[in-house]
Symmetry: C2
Subunit: 572 residues, 2 copies
């Protein structure tokens, strides 16, 4: 069965790198081998591939996923974890760095052990042949390696290293360009963003214009815009690295500002006319136009094909165009934004579903308050009201109401050819948004790891720093290991997207895994802070509430698992 | 080896109930048997007992826990989970109720499977004899039962029942008194507290006096105060049931108001003089005196024996007493409180550690603001400033500074005999607080389950209520099952404490498990809400941030696991 799977490509990268490995890399390869990392990853891969094959049969090539949702969700998650173990193993094989090799081994052991238990306990659900299991994860050799690789002493060793380095980002990436971009973004984020992040969060403020201007000058709004349209054309990996660093300082007031232009850019590049690209991409890339994405509706979240906001054909003062009417929800930054990418129903026949939808670039005036109203000379109106959220503050997220709001025909992405293609364009945009969210999640988790490592080094209880205790070291070791895996999975997805912009599986896997890691790492960090972890004065408390939005937006977790990842893995 | 363990007592309760079982109960017993619940629980018990025996050897009877922290933490957690499975199995054996029997089976299967994997993967850490494992959880029969008992179809069936009943509390308890107390508390909480809970949270307000007065009239501040001292003398089980219902409406503005008088009451009952009991218990029970507990200091959290706040002997205007100087942190309700239970060092010799500490009843004026200062005529002063927190709002938690604040000698609990006994009294009070926290956690999780079940029944996506989807049902089924186990473990701990007030292991296990369940259930509920789960307008978002304080206060999770539970299980 020849199916194009995300991790197949990741595995290819692993193999290519191994082939091209330097002496240095081979030295570490030996270290990794000593920990049986590769054996564990390969056994996990063989087992999950067999399980997926069984799942394809069971779900009739993905068509019957809804009759096997629990089964499909487990497969999607386990496959994602194995892909993360592979990505981290590939990274370890490449680096002459014992701490990374230790993390790769520990994570491979944990994932192999978890998959082993899942298969054993839900065997019937997986429909996996006993002989296949016996020959892969069921082997005694694997069982021993699972124990050895994730031995608590190894995790404590990793944790001790985290304490020594105060959790510094170990996410080495290839290429001077990416490293330079990281350094510059880190400097900006720590100097300009971090000092105001707490204030913005606690007072639910809007990100100040000075930050937007500075980010515009650094070119951050045009990372994925080709140079011919005024952007940096730096590609996805560099974009992710910058996103991570910005998110380490603040999720909503920095890291997430890039999400919106990224989504619009990808949709325009895929479906826009040449004139539209020339009109919109340069000012977006320059940060002259702030962007909002308007898809979700109060009654329509995951089921994007059911969007009801209407666009009726007409003309205003001689200009042909569309009148928008209806409600939208969760439109982040819609107040300050100068343009919204908005999905609306251009064909009133509801039975057309996704095929009746088109994507618009909707100009508007910028507003800074929690509520705004915009009236057009012709009578059209757009009203916005921010919905309060526990975190992810700095951009405000609005419920919008449109009442015959006019948009010229040339603002329908793809113009006449774009009618009915809005859903596909939006999905393309979402894939970019999901990749970028993987980077955001790694940034938030990184911030939590650093602040916790520092706190554990300084806070004394029972006569010594709490970092001296075995359980603290073990916990920090696991946090760092999972974060390293999330980061390498996200980088692998970025590289895959750099090679092929049309993919959606890899970014979704990165989003799924990295967001869960961010939720877990921030909460572990909070617990290690004791009571002060629940004080707004300590940044860890903000990281926790911020992280909780990550598995929700850009495709809420269960839907991402079933409708994107499981469908991608089991389909065709 | 004859060691007095919490779950031994729980197991005794199971056996007693089984002996006294009615025909009805025997009917359900048969249902439970069909699911192999008892076999799974018994195999888990045998395995964990063997692991604990190995752990005792390894840690030299608990003395070397710090050299085996990861090992000890795993043992403590696994033993707690097995105790929860036993408590739920006992409950199922008692009830003629198929849904409860299904939950008991599913939970027993999950815990047995988890313990099986833990032992297999960390065998060396457990030091468990292979023969013992082979004869317990390692048996093929158990492996099959683990798969069958937690089959996803069973969990979906439980979830369908949750949807049908909108998650209504299924926590049947014996005794008309407890049932009546529950009904009355539920009525009060839903009518008086629930409508103002969101406002208090979002504006960080202080709980209104009207709620305090109403709770006082209902006798809720004197649940554990004996009738001879003006209380209800209702015992711990009834107190827990009431706490649950109050916490379902609001954690901080209702459920947690009881914690403070509970802690002071237990300390006074154990260590107070007769005069002190007569002085303080009646007004506390009547709700005339609000209570704050002041133990933690800015630099001293888990290591209570290191408390530095000083009490120096002296006299003011002819009255012999103590002058308090130093800082305290996280004193919840300290502004509004009329008295603080305060732990201070009466012997300046720091080498005495816990033996130099005494517990005081410290009178003060009530204040309602975020900051207050109280000056005594003799020059003593107490200053308080509230620390902002993301949730758990309604009482404010203060950092306090004392500057030669005078307290009469008769306010030292136990007077002359109480000097140096403050640590032990405080620990007794904490045990009561932990039990009560188990109830608080169950209440928050219950609220999340109910609101999520209602939302899932009403919210439509893809043309039908999201509750129709298998994955939603499965998730609700697991949420309800874990909550049922947490509830029964907490009830078992309350019954154990009713029988013997000096215990500390059972309340700590209930606190550990129930708080983790509350964190997990609220977050699962949030994800099932999609975007609206992150809106402050929907109560689930408040339950999530509130739940996060639960594993932190009253003994932060890792310390509770190591210093209380592991020590209790491995010691002696």
């Amino acid at each position: 069965m020849c199916i194009r799977l995300g991790y197949d490509r990741i595995a290819t990268v692993v193999k290519q790198r191994r082939r091209g490995g330097s002496t240095r890399a081979r030295g570490v390869h030996a270290v990794a081998m000593a920990y049986d990392t590769n054996m564990l990853v390969e056994a996990s891969r063989a087992a999950i591939d067999a399980a997926l094959a069984a799942g394809r049969t069971r779900t009739n090539g993905g068509r019957a996923i809804d009759e096997h949702q629990v089964h499909a969700e487990r497969l999607a998650y386990a496959a994602t974890e194995v892909a993360a173990a592979e990505a981290l193993a590939a990274h370890a094989a490449e680096r002459a760095d014992a701490p990374v090799a230790r993390m790769a081994a520990a994570f491979a052991g944990e994932i192999a052990g978890k998959l082993r238990a899942t298969i054993e306990q839900h065997w019937d659900d997986f429909g996996l042949d006993a002989a296949v299991f016996a020959g892969t994860l069921g082997r005694d050799e694997v069982r021993h390696a699972v124990r050895a690789a994730q031995h608590e002493a190894r995790l404590r060793e990793i944790g001790a290293e985290v304490l020594r380095t105060r959790g510094a980002n170990n996410g080495f990436i290839d290429g001077d360009m990416a490293e330079m971009a990281r350094d510059s973004a880190r400097q900006f984020a720590r100097k300009e963003v971090a000092p105001i992040a707490e204030r913005i969060h606690r007072h639910d403020e809007l990100v100040p214009e000075s930050i937007l201007r500075a980010m515009a000058e650094l070119g951050y709004f045009g990372m994925s815009v080709p140079e011919e349209y005024g952007g940096q054309g730096m590609g996805n990996l560099v974009m992710i690295v910058i996103t991570e660093e910005l998110s380490t300082a603040s999720l909503a007031s920095a890291g997430s500002l890039i999400t919106r232009p990224e989504i619009l850019t990808k949709a325009l590049l895929k479906g826009g006319t040449e004139a539209q690209k020339k009109t919109w991409l340069p000012p977006v890339a320059a940060g002259e136009l702030m962007v909002g994405i308007s898809v979700t509706e109060p009654d329509t979240g995951s089921d994007v094909a059911s969007v009801r906001c209407r666009a009726e054909r007409g003309e205003e003062r001689g200009v042909p165009g569309w009148f928008l009417s209806g409600a939208k929800a969760w439109c982040t930054f819609a107040g300050r934004a100068n343009v919204l990418a908005l999905l609306a129903r251009t064909n009133p026949d509801l039975s057309l579903g996704a095929k009746g939808l088109s994507l618009f670039v909707v100009p508007k005036d910028p507003f800074t308050g929690h509520e705004f109203e915009m009236r057009q000379p012709g009578g059209g109106a757009m009203h916005g009201k921010a919905d309060a959220t526990p975190g992810y503050r700095g951009m405000h997220s609005y419920t919008l109401t449109f009442d015959r709001y006019f948009v010229p025909a040339e603002n329908l992405i793809g113009e006449a050819q774009g009618e009915g293609k809005g859903f596909a364009l939006q999905m393309q945009g979402f894939a970019a948004g999901r990749l970028q969210t993987g980077g955001r999640a790694c940034g938030v988790a990184q911030a939590a790891l650093e602040t916790t490592a520092t706190y554990a080094s300084e806070r004394k209880q029972f006569g010594r720093p709490i970092g001296d205790f075995q359980l603290t070291q073990y916990k920090l070791g696991r946090m760092a290991t999972h974060l390293a895996a999330a980061r390498q999975l996200t980088y692998a997805a970025a590289r895959a997207m750099d090679a092929d912009e049309s993919i959606s599986l890899e970014p979704s896997m990165a989003k799924l895994f990295a967001c869960d890691v961010a939720v877990w790492v921030t909460q572990e960090g909070q617990l290690l802070h004791g009571g002060w972890g629940y004080a707004e004065e300590f940044p860890i408390s903000r990281y926790v509430v911020d992280a909780q939005v990550l598995p929700i937006f850009e495709g809420v977790k269960p839907i991402l698992e079933l409708k994107v990842i499981a469908r991608g893995l089991l389909g065709r």
